[in-house]
Amino acid sequence: MGMETFVYIFYGLLGVLIGSALSILPSLHPLNFAGIGVFLYLMFPIDPLALMMIFMGMLVAYSIVGTVTTTFMGAPDDSTMYMVFPNQKYLMYGRGYEASVVTGIGALGAVLMLLMIAPVAGIVFPIFRKITTPHYNWVLIGIVIYLLQSEWPKDWGSRAKTKLGRLKDGWSSLSAGWFVFFLSMMLGFIVLNTPIVPADRAFQNIMPVFVGFFAVPWVLTNMISRAEIPPQTVSNRFFVSKKDMLRGTTAGFFGGTFAAYEPIITAGVGGVLAGHSMSTQGDTQFMVSGSAGRLAYYVGAFFLLWVPLLHLTRGGMAWTSSLVYQPRTESDYWLLVSAIAIAAVFSFLILVFVSRIVAKLVAGKSFKKVSIAVLLVVLTMVFGFAGLEGLAMMTICTGIGLIPPMFRTRRLNMLLGFFFPVFLNMIGMRGDVLRVLGVY
């Protein structure tokens, strides 16, 4: 084989450009475009391997450049919800550009770790899979139980005079967490079984849900802010410690990789698990672990499809793209790894460039006005992809999504609850529950 395959690297870079442009738009997700990409492929056939490289580029760009919307526009998704708080804080300190670039470096760190494990992935992952395959069910339910059990009360100290009063105060946030889990689970049963969006847009069924859970509530809470975004310092110096960077990147990478490998588990869940296991602390570690975890999750899930002797299909992008192409040889695998590396560097350069521009654009703007603009874009996106039904769905989910910030409970519970029906399906109990609910 000669160097003629280097053209695929350029397809990857094309994917980076497309993904970067789309990542700037809040609430969008590469999966929204994977389905459209396959449709376009069927209409205008291109080399399927080229399309896969474009998808890869989009994922890398989304993971790296996508933090711009989280930092500057305050529009998180499920994978960035843990970064949005520290990133926004930095924005209000005038360090938004720094936050954006530092999270990008975290993602680069994750890429470096991915490259380090690439040579042994073909040995380690098949072994892991062979041993753990019969244990998916109890491991998944164990993760759900752990996450529900490990939520600690977030009260300001109860002033109630009686023990019962103090118990009630302390459990208000925990009860809200359980309530959110329950509501999301009910929603999951309905949405995943009888989609409300029109059938011709059914592949965007979940987009309004996630937008309603994460992006819109955050934007709404921003809208009640009277703050003005201060001038942003754009400099080549970043005031965070490398130790925090390393710790955050390591935690995020392992959490994201675990989430990529395990079915149903998403980047946010993986990030929390990794954070607990490595005792992640401080804003820097949270920001960096969030971005590293995001990259490890999205790109890692796609990467698993290509690992020789594994070919594990995880994540929406892998499932959608496997309709078009299946990686076949070790050579395909090394091509992907190489393309990820080059795409990541290119994405980081775009991130630095875009962050500089956006930092200057938002400085001095009212956070409220920025949030209104973001909300309008989000509403337009949801309507465009999922129609009026999608907007209705998004509104319902926004109601649920507002509970965590109001009652100081975890947003993660929404994810856990929403995907719980998928887990029940895996263990064969979903039909029974659906019958009880009357939606079967």
Partner: protein, 474 residues
């Protein structure tokens, strides 16, 4: 400690405090963009190194079939082996088995391959070497299967031909298995299965070899029956497969079979079957005086039909149910008591008596006719003396007993009463009774044609041969 008067991160005055009291930045733990640049350079360098690795590697790593197990369910793998069975044609797909010798046990080293939307000239046959890529399905408790969706995922190297004989194959064991062979033989039998037909090819020394023809080949590919007749001499050029250790030629195309000539079939009176004719193919004819269905051993299936030609004492003609179902509906309806039949079969002995086994594939000559055994009015005359005789009786059903048949539906024992007050028992086996559209009920008058025999501990019963032998009169 005083470092800078203004914070380099947010630009606000710090009054000497470190970290900055406005934004928390600490200049002493900072790094520059050079750090990120270094990481980018490292990643780029490693990425380019991996690209060269991509250029250098092009080999395929096949997975040994014996190592494929349920933990690989839904994975994509390469397999490399020889086609050991197939192709089996279906609607929109073709399946075949691949064997790669990765285990001593053939079953462990064999996988079924399902090839969807096969392109022309991309279907392998037994003996061909294949390199295939597809998705594995290997759930627990189910045979593993590889699914191929693209023709480019199947690379075929056609097999070399080996000239051989039936006796060579029979005597050499497995050395010729999964090779493409050419040999001659004579068609001497047919055994229909649910999804295929197995012809028996014989040579002059009496050695036999099976020829497997999948029904899909006739239905979906050639769209016509293969048309082989007993005693056709054929030249077969096809792959040699095996089933349960028995070698079996596997036809993948009608062009692999050439009928070179046909032997004449000797015509013999049915009553003249003797030991000299055992094993020979002969033609017989006569009037069917009785058709007796024989049930299977485990369920309600019919295994065969025994025809009595001209009288009950001549050697029977046996037609297996599978062969019977190969007949057209018209011929199935004609093949009944009273018809005159001419057919070709193989002479054999069964429980000390001679009989003719219809081997097919010729369609029997059938001329419709009527026959009814002598009628018996007084049932009390039906005794042990009439054993094995055919009788016709008409009477009123006065009793309908169930005779237990284990887990299966019961046999029935009817008691028919004649006009003289006498009675006789009619024994209807469950596989016949369950097929009756209007089974006889108590109080009805029925006509039964059957043989006098004993059954289920009853010394004298009349047992009908087929469902049509029991007719409701009123």
């Amino acid at each position: 400690m005083t470092e800078e008067k203004r914070c380099p991160a947010c630009g606000k005055p710090t009054a000497g405090y470190v970290p900055c009291p406005h934004c928390g930045a600490d200049p002493r733990t900072s790094f520059t963009i050079k750090f990120a640049a270094v990481i980018c350079v490292i990643i780029l360098g490693v990425g380019i190194a991996f690209y060269f690795l991509h250029v250098a590697t092009s080999e395929v790593i096949p997975t040994p079939i014996s190592s494929i197990d349920s933990w690989l369910d839904y994975s994509y793998v390469w397999i490399d082996g020889v086609v050991s069975a197939g192709p089996q044609y279906g609607i929109g797909s073709v399946s075949f088995d691949v064997y790669d010798a990765s285990a001593q046990n053939i079953d462990q080293a064999t996988i079924s391959v399902e090839y969807y939307d096969p392109a022309e000239n991309t279907i392998p046959a037994v003996g061909d070497h294949v390199l295939a890529f597809g998705q594995l399905r290997a759930p627990v408790g189910v045979d593993k299967e590889l699914r191929i969706s693209f023709p480019s995922d199947l690379q075929i190297t056609r097999a070399q031909l080996v000239q051989t004989t039936i006796s060579d194959i029979v005597s050499t064991g497995s050395s010729l298995w999964f090779k493409r062979v050419a040999l001659n033989g004579t068609v001497t039998g047919l055994r229909p299965l649910a999804s295929a037909k197995i012809y028996t090819l014989s040579d002059s020394e009496g050695n036999e070899l099976q020829l497997y023809v999948h029904n899909g080949l006739e239905t979906y590919v050639e769209k016509r029956p293969i048309g082989l007749k007993v005693l056709d001499n054929v030249t077969v050029t096809t792959g040699l497969s095996q089933y349960a250790g028995v070698p079996q030629l596997y036809l993948s195309d009608f062009d692999e079979l050439d009928v070179t000539s046909s032997e004449n079939v000797q015509e013999v009176p049915i009553q003249s079957l003797n030991e000299n004719l055992v094993g020979d193919i002969v033609k017989v004819g006569g009037k069917i005086v009785f058709v007796e269905a024989v049930g299977g051993s485990t369920g309600l299936e019919m295994s065969e039909r025994l025809l009595s030609l001209d009288n009950r004492y001549n050697p029977s003609v046996t037609i297996s149910d599978g062969l019977f179902k190969l007949l057209s509906d018209e011929n199935q309806a004609l093949l009944k008591r009273g018809a005159t039949i001419g057919l070709v079969g193989k002479v054999q002995t069964y429980r000390g008596a001679y009989r003719l086994e219809w081997v097919g594939p010729q369609v029997p000559d059938l001329t419709p006719g009527e026959y009814e055994p002598p009628s018996v009015e007084n049932f009390s005359t039906i005794t042990d003396n009439l054993k094995d005789e055919l009788v016709t009786i008409t009477g009123r059903v006065v009793d309908n007993l169930n005779i237990t048949a284990g887990q299966l539906p019961s046999h029935r024992l009817l008691t028919l009463q004649d006009n003289f007050g006498g009675s006789v028992r009619v024994y209807i086996p469950n596989f016949l009774y369950e097929r009756m559209q209007n089974p006889p009920l108590t109080g009805q008058t029925v006509k039964v044609v059957g043989k006098v025999t004993s059954a289920s501990g009853y010394p004298v019963v009349v047992q009908p041969g087929v469902m049509e032998d029991v007719q409701r009169v009123s």
